[in-house]
C-alpha cells in the first residue's frame, strides 16, 4: 500500500549499486593508488529529477527515493486521521509526535514495525513537544485548547477554560501520561525550547515563543498589548522563560520575560560613529532637515518634511505652499514633531521599526557552546545563553530574500548556523518552478567572532506542483563525523539530506518525496519535521503518520561514515535543544576519516593504504597484539600528518587509534 513496486525496485537497485560500488572501492584500493572516491562536487545528481510528476494520493501516492531506505510507514491512529501531525521529540525507544488533536507516542524499538504506545487526545495547535526526564512539555497556541483537554473547543473570547501556553505531563510511565500542570502565557506557545543548564541540576528552563495575538487581560491578568514604552508588562517584544523545578514540576512558573529584541532597530544609543556623524553634518550643511532622536541625529526624509510643513500650514490656518517662515518654524520644532511621529507609528499597534521584531518563531538552544539561534520575524539572532535566565542578543542579521525567519540549526562545532524561511507559513506552495530559489529556502551563515557572515542559500531543488504546500521546515544534523550533514523537511516537497560542510556550497545527497495529496486542490500535508535519532531518520508526516528511514551508503557517504554516525547514541532528543555529538573511539570512526581524506584529496593514497591495511590487521587480532599494531599506526600517522592537506584530521585519526589501543 505504501510504497510502490517501482520504489521497491529502486531500493533494490540502490542496495545492489551500493554493494558493487563499495566492492569496487575495495578492489581499487588494494590494487592501485588512484583515489576511488569522487569529491562530492563532482558527483552527478539524478537527471531528470524523479520527484517531478509523482502521482497523487493520500495513503497511496507515488513515491521516489534516492540514497535512503524506507524502513516503515505507519498511518496515524484512528482518532488522529485528518488531524495534523506536528513536531517530534524522542525518549529511549519512543518517538513522541505532536498533533493538533493531542499527541501520539510511538514505540520505535522495531523501526520496521513501529507501534502506537499512546494516543492522547488533548486538542491544541500546534502541540509542539519536548521531553526532559519524566516530563513531557506540549505547546498550545490556538484558541480552542482547553485546560481539561476537552474536544469541544472554547468559543468565548474570554474563558476560564482556555489553555494557551505550556502543558506539562508526567511520563514516568510512558504508557500512562499524567497531565500534572500547565503554565499560561499571554500569546500562547507556538513553539518552545527546553534548556538544560549544565550548572543547574535542580531545574530545567522552557523558552516560550508565541506569534499569535495577545489574549485579553480579562482572561489572563497581566497580559497587555500596549507597547513597552507605555506598559512595562507588554507581552510584545519578549519571550517567556519558564522555570521547572524537577522535584516539583507542578510549581513550574514564568521566571523572566527577557526583551532580547530591545533596541534592534533603534539608532545607536552610544551616538553616531564618526563616519555617520560626518554624513549627517554634510546633509545639515546642504540644508537638509535634521532631527535629534534617541541621542542621535537623523536626516529627515523629504516625505516627512513635506508632511510636517503641511501640518504647520494647517496649524496657522493657512493654505497652499509652505513659506520660508514655516521652514524656520519646522527647524525649531523638528525634534518634537519627529518624536510625535515616531510615537504615532508605535501607537498603531504597539510596535514599530524602533522596537524591532516583537516575537520569535523558534529558538534553538545549543548549551554546549553557550549559544542560541533565534528566528524572530525579520531577523536571525545569535543569543548568548550562558546565563539561562538572562539571555543576551549578540548579533542580528536581516535578509531581504527572507520573509519570515522560522528556525535555526547549528553545525556540530558551532561555526555555522542555518536559518530557515517559512515563507507562507507552510501552507502555501512555494516550490513551484516560478518561485525563486532564494525564497522559502535556508540561509547559511558562518559564525566568526560572534558575528554571522552570509554564505549561501539552499532550497530543495525539485519543482513541486501548485497543490503541494512546500517551503523550508524542520530538520536536524546527522552525526557524520567531520562533515556537516543535515536532514530536513519540506512539507509536500518531501524530505532531503544535504551536505553543507562548505557553507558556501551546500549539496543535496539524498531525498524521498511523494506525490501530492490531491491533484485538484491544495490540502495541507507533507513532512512537518524529520530528525536523526540513533541511526534512524524519523519523519512526522502531517497526514500520513510516521515514516522511518535510514541512510544508504552512496558515492556521497561511505558505509564507514554511516557506521561511525551510528556509534552516537542519545537517551532523549528535543530538536530545539541541540545536543553536541561526540564520537567514541571506534574502527568505523578511523575508517570514516580515512574515506573523507581520500574523497577530499587531502592525504596521499599510499598513506591511506598503509592505514587501511594496518586497520585490517588490527581487526584480525586482539589484546596486546592489537594495541601494538594500533599504536604503531598512530605513530606513523602522526609522522605523516604534516604531509596532509588536513593534518588536523590525520591527527584525529592518530588520537583515535591511541584511544582504541588503550581499550
Amino acid at each position: 500500500m505504501n510504497y510502490t513496486v517501482t520504489a521497491k525496485f529502486a531500493v533494490l537497485f540502490l542496495l545492489l549499486g551500493a554493494y558493487l560500488f563499495s566492492a569496487s572501492v575495495q578492489a581499487q584500493q588494494s590494487s592501485t593508488a588512484e583515489s576511488a572516491l569522487k569529491p562530492i562536487t563532482e558527483i552527478a545528481q539524478p537527471d531528470p529529477d524523479p520527484r517531478i510528476g509523482l502521482r497523487a494520493g493520500v495513503f497511496d501516492a507515488e513515491e521516489t527515493i534516492w540514497n535512503l531506505r524506507m524502513l516503515s510507514t505507519a498511518p496515524p491512529p484512528p482518532d488522529f486521521i485528518g488531524s495534523w501531525g506536528t513536531d517530534l521529540a524522542f525518549k529511549d525507544n519512543y518517538a513522541i509526535q505532536g498533533n493538533y488533536n493531542g499527541f501520539v507516542i510511538w514505540d520505535i524499538s522495531n523501526p520496521e514495525n513501529p507501534s502506537v504506545a499512546v494516543d492522547f487526545l488533548c486538542p491544541a495547535s500546534q502541540s509542539d513537544v519536548s521531553v526532559y526526564g519524566d516530563l513531557l512539555f506540549v505547546s498550545g497556541e490556538g484558541l480552542g485548547g482547553r485546560l481539561d483537554c476537552g474536544t469541544e473547543g472554547v468559543r468565548e473570547t474570554v474563558s476560564p477554560d482556555r489553555l494557551r501556553g505550556i502543558r506539562i505531563f508526567d511520563i514516568s510511565d510512558i504508557y500512562e501520561p499524567e497531565y500534572i500542570a500547565n503554565v499560561q502565557t499571554c500569546r500562547g506557545s507556538h513553539t518552545h525550547s527546553v534548556l538544560v543548564d549544565p550548572n543547574d541540576d535542580e531545574n530545567v528552563y522552557v523558552y516560550v515563543s508565541g506569534s499569535a495575538p495577545v489574549r485579553p487581560e480579562e482572561e489572563l491578568p497581566g497580559c497587555s498589548d500596549a507597547f513597552p514604552d507605555e506598559d512595562p508588562n507588554s507581552a510584545f517584544f519578549r519571550i517567556e522563560v519558564i522555570q521547572v523545578p524537577l522535584a516539583n514540576p507542578e510549581q513550574a512558573a514564568i521566571v523572566s520575560s527577557p526583551r532580547i529584541f530591545d533596541g534592534l532597530e533603534a539608532p545607536p544609543v552610544h551616538g553616531l560613529a564618526p563616519e555617520e556623524q560626518a554624513i549627517v553634518d554634510r546633509a545639515a550643511e546642504a540644508g537638509r532637515f535634521i532631527a535629534n532622536y534617541r541621542n542621535a541625529q537623523r536626516i529627515v526624509n523629504d516625505g516627512i518634511v513635506n508632511r510636517f510643513l503641511a501640518q504647520l500650514v494647517e496649524e496657522r490656518g493657512g493654505e497652499g505652499e509652505p513659506t520660508a517662515a514655516d521652514s524656520t518654524l519646522l527647524r525649531e520644532r523638528m525634534d518634537d514633531m519627529y518624536l510625535d511621529l515616531m510615537e504615532e507609528r508605535l501607537a498603531v499597534r504597539g510596535r514599530s521599526v524602533d522596537l524591532g521584531p516583537n516575537q520569535c518563531h523558534d529558538i534553538t538552544l545549543y548549551p554546549e557552546i553557550g549559544l542560541a539561534g533565534g528566528a524572530c520575524e525579520g531577523y536571525g539572532l545569535l543569543i548568548d545563553i550562558s546565563d539561562p535566565i538572562n539571555p543576551v542578543r549578540i548579533d542580528a542579521v536581516a535578509d531581504s530574500n527572507f520573509a519570515y525567519w522560522h528556525s535555526a540549526t547549528f553545525n556540530n562545532d558551532g561555526t555555522t548556523v542555518l536559518f530557515t524561511d517559512e515563507w507562507g507559513g507552510g501552507t502555501q506552495p512555494k516550490c513551484r518552478e516560478t518561485d525563486p530559489y532564494e525564497w522559502g529556502a535556508n540561509a547559511i551563515y558562518s559564525i566568526v567572532d560572534g558575528k554571522m557572515e552570509f554564505q549561501s542559500y539552499f532550497k530543495m531543488p525539485a519543482p513541486q506542483t501548485s497543490t503541494e504546500n512546500c517551503v523550508a521546515h524542520n530538520g536536524s544534523m546527522i552525526p557524520i563525523p567531520g562533515r556537516d550533514i543535515m536532514v530536513q523537511s519540506w512539507y509536500q516537497g518531501g524530505i532531503n539530506v544535504f551536505d553543507f560542510t562548505d557553507p558556501a556550497n551546500p549539496i543535496e545527497i539524498a531525498f524521498h518525496d511523494r506525490g501530492p495529496l490531491s491533484d485538484d486542490r491544495l490540502e495541507i500535508g507533507g513532512s512537518w519535521s524529520i530528525y536523526w535519532y540513533n541511526g534512524l531518520l524519523i519523519n512526522s508526516e502531517i497526514v500520513r503518520g510516521l515514516d522511518i528511514f535510514e541512510l544508504l551508503p552512496s558515492e556521497f557517504i561511505t558505509e564507514n561514515e554511516i557506521a561511525a554516525s551510528n556509534t552516537v547514541r542519545m537517551d532523549y532528543f528535543n530538536p530545539q535543544g541541540q545536543p553536541m555529538f561526540t564520537w567514541p573511539a571506534s574502527f568505523p570512526l578511523v575508517k570514516a576519516y580515512a574515506d573523507q581524506l581520500e574523497r577530499d584529496r587531502e592525504f596521499d593514497m599510499q598513506s591511506l593504504q598503509l592505514l587501511r591495511t594496518g586497520l585490517e590487521r588490527a581487526e584480525l587480532t586482539n589484546g596486546n597484539e592489537q594495541a601494538r599494531i594500533l599504536t604503531e599506526l598512530a605513530v606513523e600517522m602522526e609522522s605523516r600528518a604534516t604531509g596532509s592537506a588536513n593534518s588536523a584530521k590525520v591527527l584525529k585519526i592518530a588520537e583515535t587509534l591511541r584511544e582504541l589501543a588503550a581499550g
Partner: protein, 262 residues
C-alpha cells in the same frame, strides 16, 4: 457550487457520521458539531443520490475515506466573523496586487521591485487559499478581476440563495462589501497618485501606502481574534496568524527601506 470531488467527500462524511459517530464527536475541538453542521448536513442530503454513483466508481481505502470525511467535517467549525474576514481580506489583498504590479513599469528600485514581487507571489497565493476556504464552506466566493487600477469583485456560488447570481462590485459599489471602507485600503485617487509616480518618488509612495495597507490587514486580524468563536478553524487560524506575522515583518522592512532612502 460544490465540485464533484467535494460531493464525494460529503458523501463519505455522511457514511462515516453514521457508522463511526465516535470518531466525529469524540475527536477534536475542530470537529465538534456547531451551528453550521445542521445546515451542512442539509446540504449533503440534496446531493446524496448522484454522489452515490460517483462513489461506486472509486475504490478508496477505508483510511482515505476517513481522511476525507474528517477533512470535510473539520470545515464546519466557523462563524460569520470568519467568513467576513476571508471575504474582506481577498479584496484587501487584491488591492496590494494592483499596487505591486505597478513597480516594474514605474521605475521602482531593485529592492522595491523585489518586495513587490514577493507581495504578488505571497498575496496572490493567499487569495487562492481564502477563495478555497470559502468555497469549501459553501460560502459566496469573491472572484477578483483587476483591470489596471480598477478592482472588480464578482461574488460566486454559495448556498445562500441571496448570494446566487452575479454581483458585480466596482471599486466600492459592491453589493455586499464596501471594500474601500476597510482599514488601510487606498482611495482610487491614491492609487492614481501612485500610478503617476516614477523612480524614487514611486518607491517612497509605494512604501508609505503599503505600510498603511499592511497596518490595515493587521488591524483586521486583531478584529477577527476579538470576535467570539472566531479563528477556531485551523486553516483560518494558520492563515490569519501567518498574515499577521509576515505583514508585521514586512512593515518593519518597509520602514527600514524608507529610512534608508535618503
Amino acid at each position: 457550487m460544490a465540485t464533484s470531488h467535494t460531493r464525494l467527500i460529503i458523501y463519505f462524511s455522511l457514511i462515516i457520521a453514521f457508522l463511526l459517530p465516535i470518531y466525529i464527536t469524540g475527536c477534536s475541538g475542530s470537529e465538534t458539531t456547531t451551528d453550521h453542521s445542521e445546515h451542512h448536513q442539509h446540504h449533503h442530503n440534496g446531493h446524496q443520490q448522484e454522489i452515490h454513483q460517483e462513489h461506486t466508481q472509486h475504490e478508496m481505502s477505508d483510511l482515505e475515506a476517513l481522511y476525507w470525511a474528517r477533512i470535510d467535517s473539520s470545515r464546519m467549525n466557523f462563524v460569520q466573523a470568519d467568513v467576513d474576514f476571508m471575504t474582506d481580506m481577498i479584496a484587501h489583498h487584491a488591492q496590494a496586487l494592483i499596487m505591486s504590479r505597478l513597480a516594474p513599469e514605474n521605475g521602482a528600485s531593485d529592492s522595491v521591485q523585489r518586495l513587490a514581487a514577493r507581495i504578488i507571489n505571497a498575496q496572490g497565493d493567499e487569495i487562492g487559499t481564502m477563495q478555497k476556504w470559502l468555497r469549501d464552506r459553501h460560502q459566496p466566493v469573491p472572484e477578483v478581476h483587476i483591470d489596471g487600477l480598477i478592482l472588480m469583485i464578482h461574488m460566486e456560488g454559495g448556498d445562500n440563495h441571496d448570494m446566487h447570481g452575479d454581483h458585480h462590485g466596482h471599486h466600492g459599489h459592491d453589493a455586499m462589501h464596501h471594500h474601500h471602507d476597510m482599514p488601510g485600503m487606498l482611495t482610487q485617487e491614491q492609487l492614481e497618485e501612485l500610478a503617476a509616480a516614477h523612480g524614487s518618488e514611486f518607491d517612497r509612495k509605494f512604501l508609505t501606502f503599503m505600510i498603511e495597507h499592511h497596518e490595515g490587514a493587521i488591524y483586521m486580524v486583531d478584529e477577527l481574534f476579538a470576535a467570539d468563536g472566531a479563528a477556531l478553524d485551523r486553516e483560518l487560524f494558520d492563515l490569519a496568524s501567518g498574515i499577521n506575522a509576515e505583514q508585521v515583518t514586512e512593515i518593519d522592512r518597509m520602514w527600514k527601506m524608507l529610512d534608508e532612502m535618503n
